[in-house]
Symmetry: C2
Subunit: 662 residues, 2 copies
C-alpha cells in the first residue's frame, strides 16, 4: 500500500447523515428549510477535536462554516439553512485541536497543583502560531496572550481559559492536518410547492357548461375561481396535445371508437402535431398563456401531464422512425403487456443507437412548455423509461429552471419508486390509494416520513385519479370519500384529487373487481353541475383552509401515530418544530359504522402539562373540548363527518395566557 500524501491526518469522519447511497444522490429541501447534519468524528488517543460543517451554493468558490457540536458517543451535529433555489453542497472538516486538549489538561494540572511552567510555554507556542494566521487586532491580542503565557504571568492561566482566547484560537485554529470528509454532498432546493401543495386534476375538455360542447382553455379559465374556492394551488391537466386517430379508443376503453368520439388524451400526436402542440379544440397557445396567467392571479399553478409515448399518427413516427422499434415485418412495435396489445400507443425505443437525439428532443418538450409558463409537470409512467434518462433530463432542466417541479406517476414497485425519487423527481405518487387499514397506513407513512426515504422522496397522496377508483371508495360511498380526503390532506403535505369525480363521490367501476371508472372521462367528454347538492366541495374547501392555517400540516417529518384502543380509528399528530402548532387528526376508517375509542397522547412530547387541561378544537365542525391527561374519548360517525382535525391548544403559564383564549 503506497503512502498517502499526508499520513498525519488523524481524524476520521464517517457515518454522515443525511447522505443518500454514499452521496450518489442529493437530498431535497425547500427554500428556507434547514439541514441538520450529523457525523461520527473521532481521532486516536485522547486529544480533543474540533470540526465544522461547510456549505455553499453549488458553483460558489467559498464555503460557509458553522461549528459542529458534540453530542454523545463520538457523534457530532451541525445545521445550516438553504435560502435559494438550486443546488447546495455540504461537507465536513475536523482536526485534532491541540489547544483545546491543552486547555482541558491545564485545568486538571492546576487542580492537582502541579508545576505548569513548561505547560504554559507549550501553550504560548500554540498561541504564537495562531497569531501568525491572524491579522490586525486579533493578531495583536493573540501575541499579547502569548507574551503573558511565556512570562508565566499571574493572570496567564485565567486568560488561557478565557472565552476570548478560546474564540480566537478557534478562529485561527491550525488546520494544516485537518481531515476533510471525502464526499461533497448535495441538496436540491425546491420552491415551497414542492413540499406543500394541493393539486386538483380536471379534464379541460369537460369544462364546458353546455352538454356535448368540447371544453376549451377559456372554459378552464372560467373554472379557476371554483378551483381556487376549493383551496387548491395546483391545477393539473391531462395531456393537451393533438389526439391520434389510429386505433383510437372508444367509450369505456373500447378498442373500436365510433366516429366523433374524442379518444384518450394520452394517445398523443396526430397530423396536427405532437408533444409541443395543442389539441385545436382546446384553443390556441395564446389561450393557454392566458390560462397560466389567470391561474397565477389566483395563486394557482398550471401543471401539465407529460406522457412520453406516441400515437401511430404522431409526426415523430414519420420523421424519426429510428426512435421506435421496428419489427421484422416492417411494422412498428406498439405497446404490449402480453397478451394485451395497445396498438394506439407506440413507446419510444430507448435502446436506439440514436438515443442522444431522442433524449434531447424529449428534454426540449419540457423546455418548450417551461417557455410557455409551465413550472410543474406530472410525468406519466416514468418507470417505463430509463433511469439515466430521467436523471439527465431533470438535472439539466433544474439547472436552468430550478423552480421546476416533477411529479412522478410511479405506481410501481417500491425500489423503482424510490429510485425515481432519488434521481430527481420532486414528488411521487405512491401506494396511498391502497393503504386502508390502520396498520397499513401507519407502516406506510412511517416508512415514508420517519426513515431516510423522507430525505429524497416527497409523497403526493391521491385518493383517486382518472385511472384509480379504489375498492374502498367503491364500497364505502360518501363516508369513504370524506375519510380519504382527510387522510390525504393531513397525512400528506402534498396531496391531490381528480375532480369533480371526487367531490361528486363518483364510485361506479367499469366492472366488479375493476378499479377503472365507468364511463371514464378518459374516453368521453362530460359536463358537470358543480353545484350538485351532494358535492363535497364545501368540506374540501374547509380542509384546504385548515391546511393553509396550520403550518404543522405543511411538513411530513414530524408526524407521529398514537395508540387508540379501537383498530378502526387512526390517530396522529403533526407539529411544528417549536410546538407552536399542534394538529391532532382522528379518523374513523370504517365507512359504515360509528366507532369510538380512547386516544393516548404523549403529552410531555407535545409540551402539554400532564396536570392541566388543554383544549382540542375540531376545525372541521368547530366543536371544542377540554381534555385532561393523556387518555381521552373520541366518537366518529361516518355519515356526518368521519374525522376530526383538532387544533390542540395548551395552557401557557396562567389562566390569562391559556392560548385558546386567543
Amino acid at each position: 500500500m503506497a503512502f498517502t500524501e499526508e499520513g498525519r491526518r488523524r481524524v476520521v469522519i464517517e457515518g454522515v447523515k443525511p447522505e443518500i447511497d454514499a452521496g450518489r444522490f442529493p437530498i431535497k429541501r425547500t427554500v428556507g428549510e434547514s439541514i441538520i447534519v450529523e457525523a461520527d468524528m473521532f481521532t486516536d488517543g485522547h486529544d480533543a477535536l474540533s470540526g465544522v460543517l461547510q456549505f455553499r451554493k453549488k458553483g460558489a468558490k467559498k464555503w460557509s462554516e458553522v461549528p459542529m457540536e458534540f453530542l454523545v458517543n463520538d457523534r457530532w451535529r451541525g445545521e445550516f439553512t438553504v435560502t435559494e433555489l438550486g443546488r447546495y453542497q455540504y461537507t465536513l472538516q475536523a482536526w485534532v485541536d491541540h489547544f483545546k486538549s491543552w486547555a482541558r489538561d491545564l485545568v486538571k494540572r492546576v487542580e492537582a497543583e502541579q508545576d505548569i511552567s513548561v505547560d504554559l510555554l507549550i501553550g504560548a507556542t500554540m498561541v504564537e502560531d495562531a497569531a501568525t494566521r491572524a491579522k490586525g487586532r486579533d493578531a495583536t491580542k493573540l501575541n499579547d496572550y502569548a507574551k503573558n503565557l511565556r512570562a508565566r504571568a499571574e493572570e496567564a492561566v485565567k486568560q488561557a481559559l478565557s472565552a476570548d482566547l478560546t474564540t480566537l484560537m478557534d478562529r485561527y485554529a491550525n488546520r494544516e492536518l485537518a481531515t476533510t470528509y471525502h464526499r461533497t454532498l448535495e441538496v436540491v432546493v425546491d420552491p415551497e410547492r414542492a413540499r406543500y401543495s394541493a393539486w386538483y386534476e380536471l379534464f379541460p375538455r369537460s369544462t364546458a357548461t353546455e352538454p356535448s360542447r368540447h371544453g376549451t382553455f377559456k372554459d378552464v379559465i372560467k373554472r379557476l375561481p371554483y378551483v381556487a374556492s376549493l383551496g387548491f394551488d395546483v391545477l393539473y391537466l391531462p395531456p393537451i396535445h393533438p389526439i391520434g386517430q389510429s386505433y383510437r379508443k372508444g367509450k369505456n376503453n373500447n378498442v373500436v371508437s365510433q366516429p366523433g368520439e374524442p379518444g384518450s388524451p394520452w394517445a398523443i400526436g396526430s397530423e396536427e402535431g405532437g408533444h409541443k402542440s395543442i389539441h385545436a379544440e382546446l384553443g390556441t397557445v395564446e389561450d393557454f398563456h392566458e390560462l397560466v396567467a389567470q391561474a397565477r392571479e389566483l395563486n394557482i399553478e398550471i401543471a401539465l401531464d407529460i406522457a412520453f409515448q406516441a400515437s401511430p399518427d404522431h409526426p415523430y413516427v414519420k420523421e424519426h422512425p429510428e426512435w421506435f422499434l421496428s419489427r421484422p415485418d416492417g411494422t412498428i412495435q406498439y405497446a404490449e403487456n402480453p397478451p394485451k396489445k395497445y396498438q394506439d400507443i407506440y413507446p419510444f425505443y430507448f435502446e436506439t443507437p440514436k438515443w442522444k437525439e431522442l433524449w434531447e428532443e424529449l428534454k426540449s418538450v419540457f423546455v418548450y412548455w417551461i417557455e410557455q409558463g409551465v413550472r410543474i409537470f406530472r410525468v406519466d409512467n416514468p418507470h417505463t423509461k430509463p433511469f439515466d434518462f430521467w436523471e439527465w433530463l431533470i438535472t439539466d432542466i433544474k439547472r436552468d429552471y430550478p423552480e421546476t417541479i416533477f411529479l412522478a406517476e410511479a405506481f410501481t414497485r417500491p425500489k423503482v419508486l424510490y429510485q425515481l425519487a432519488k434521481l430527481g423527481f420532486t414528488q411521487s405518487y405512491n401506494y396511498f390509494p391502497w393503504r386502508n387499514t390502520r396498520w397499513e397506513l401507519e407502516e406506510f407513512l412511517t416508512e415514508l416520513t420517519q426513515t431516510e426515504v423522507q430525505e429524497y422522496l416527497r409523497p403526493s397522496l391521491w385518493p383517486n385519479t382518472p385511472d384509480i377508483l379504489t375498492e374502498y371508495l367503491q364500497v364505502g360511498g360518501r363516508p369513504a370519500f370524506m375519510t380519504r380526503l382527510v387522510l390525504a390532506a393531513t397525512l400528506g403535505a402534498c396531496y391531490g384529487m381528480y375532480g369533480p369525480a371526487f367531490e361528486f363521490g363518483d364510485n361506479q367501476p367499469l366492472a366488479v373487481g375493476k378499479e377503472e371508472y365507468l364511463n371514464s372521462e378518459k374516453y368521453e367528454i362530460k359536463v358537470h353541475d358543480l353545484d350538485r347538492p351532494d358535492s363535497l366541495k364545501d368540506m374540501i374547501a374547509r380542509v384546504n383552509h385548515i391546511r393553509r392555517g396550520n403550518p404543522a400540516l405543511h411538513f411530513n417529518e414530524r408526524i407521529r401515530f398514537h395508540n387508540v384502543d379501537n383498530e378502526q380509528i387512526l390517530a396522529y399528530t403533526k407539529t411544528t418544530k417549536d410546538l407552536s402548532n399542534i394538529v391532532l387528526v382522528v379518523v374513523n376508517l370504517d365507512p359504515h359504522y360509528t366507532q369510538s375509542g380512547w386516544v393516548d397522547l404523549p403529552l410531555e412530547e407535545l409540551g402539554i402539562n400532564l396536570e392541566e387541561p388543554y383544549q382540542v378544537h375540531d376545525l372541521l365542525d368547530d366543536a371544542r373540548y377540554i381534555w385532561t391527561g393523556p387518555r381521552n374519548y373520541v366518537e366518529l360517525r361516518p355519515h356526518t363527518i368521519p374525522a376530526s382535525i383538532f387544533l390542540v391548544r395548551r395552557r401557557v403559564r396562567s389562566e390569562r395566557n391559556f392560548d385558546y383564549y386567543q
Copy 2:
C-alpha cells in the same frame, strides 16, 4: 449535465450487501467460507433481467461468475467461496435480457392463441445474434435453433422454451448494454485461526519452577504440554524485549522500584535494544525459534505483543529524537493522562515531519518477528496510534504475509473499536469483560454477530487479562470464573484467558474499586504450582475439547438467544448452517445461588419435530436428558457447575436412526 458515455444501460444495481461504508473497507472471511451477496437489481419497464456475481483473487485478470437468483421485491442473491489466503474482489453485472422477456411473453401469446409468426422471427434474430458470440458446437446449435424459428417450424416454440436453448442464450447473452456495479468490493481471507481460536496468555519470566529464578523461553517450552493439554491453540506472550531502567515501576505499579525488581515488560527498550531485541534473561533468538517450532508441533502458534511505545532508555530515543515530541524545556514528552504521568513511557510522535520513516520502522518490527516465525500479533493500545498508520501497515504486511493475524487490544469507545476492525485488525478485544447481565450479554452479542459488524469485526472474548480483573470475578469467586469461562468459550469462536491467574481463580484486586490485580505479574516474577487442587484446568480442558468437537462453536453468525423465565439464566444456541450440529448453552449468571427456569426453544428452526422427543447431552458433566416440546426445565448450581453445554440430538426418521444412539 453531460451525456453519459452510454445512456442505454437500463439496469440499476444498488443496495449491495455485504458492503462496508460504500466499499471503503473489505469484509472478512476465512479460507473455505462463502460470501452470500445480495443486491437490488431492476430496470425500467417490464423487461426481464439477468445478472451475475463476479469474483476473483485480487490481481487476477479474469472474473469468475455465478448467476444471481431472484428473491423477491427486486432483490437478488448469489454466493461464492473463497479458497485462498489474501484478498478477493467481487462485483455484480446485470442486463436487460430480451430473450428472457421474449420467452416469457411467448408463453402468454401461445396461451392466448395469438398469431406469433412475427414473434418467432424476433426470437430468431436474437438467437442468431447469440450465435455470433458462440463458437463450435454451441454456435452450430444456436444457428439450428434460429433456422427453425425463422422457418416457424412446428417444434420451434417448444425449442424456444427448452432448457437447452435457455442455457445457451444465458451463456451467450448480449451484454453490450450490461450495467456493472460501480464498486469493486473486497474480501480479506484469513487463516482459520482468525475466526476460531483459543488463546492463552502467560508471562514467560514466571514459568520457572524454582522460586525467584527468571523464567526463560526454555521454561516456556516445558510449559507447552500444559497449554496444549488445556486445549489452547495460541500462546500469547507479553513483550519479550529489553525493559527500560529509567523510572522503572516497582511491585504493584509503584513509581519507585527497588534494585533487582524486573519492571514492566511494556516499558520497552534499554541499552540492550528495542522492539527487535529479546530481553536477555529470557534467552536468545535461537531459543525463541525453538519455542515457536516446539509450539507448532503441538498445534500452538506463538503470539507476540507489539506495544508501540518506548522506555526513555530505548535506542530510538537517541537515534531518532525526531520520532518523539520535544517539550520547550528540551525534555521529551512522556505519556500522560493529566494529572497522571507515566514517565517510564515515551509515546511515538505521529505528527512528526518524519512520519514516513517512523511508519517504515514500526512496520519493520512486525516484519522482523514474522521472519522469526511469528504469525500472530496482539497489538497493544492500537487506538492511541493513527488509523491511517494501521491501515497502511496491516494492508502492506498482509499483502506479503496474508496468514498474519492482528488482534487489536482496543478497549476503547465503540466507534474507535469498529474503525480499527474495519481498517484491518483481524480480531478485536471488546467490552465482553464488563457485560454481565443477561440483557447486556444479549444486546452486546447481537450487535456483534447479527449486524453488519460481523462482516468486519471478529470479537475475541477474554474473561480476564493482566490489566483486567473485573468486579464480577472479584465478587463471584470460583463460580464466576466458571461462568465467564463458558460464556467466553461458547459465545465467542475466538476467546482467551490470562493464566494461570485464571485457572487459579485469582481474584484479589490491588484495592477495592480497582480492576488491577494485587501483586500483578506485570511488575514481579512469580512461580506457579500448576497442579493446585483448586485449579480450573480440567474444566478449561473440557470446554476446549467441547469447542473442538462441535463445529457450531467455530462460528459466531448463527448464534441465537432464547427466552428463559428467569433473568439470571442466559440461554443460546449455536448451529452449523446445515443444522448437523446444534449446541445449546445454558448459563447461571448468578455466582451465588442456584437458579432454575424454563427454556423456550424454537424447535422448528432447529429442525426438531415438535411432537417427538429429542436428547440434550450436557457435554460438561455428561448427563443426558430427553426433552419434548419447546419448553423445558433447567436448574444450575453455581458451586458445582453453573452452566450446561448441551449437544442437541434430534431423532432422524426412525428409532434406529435416532442420532443419539451413535
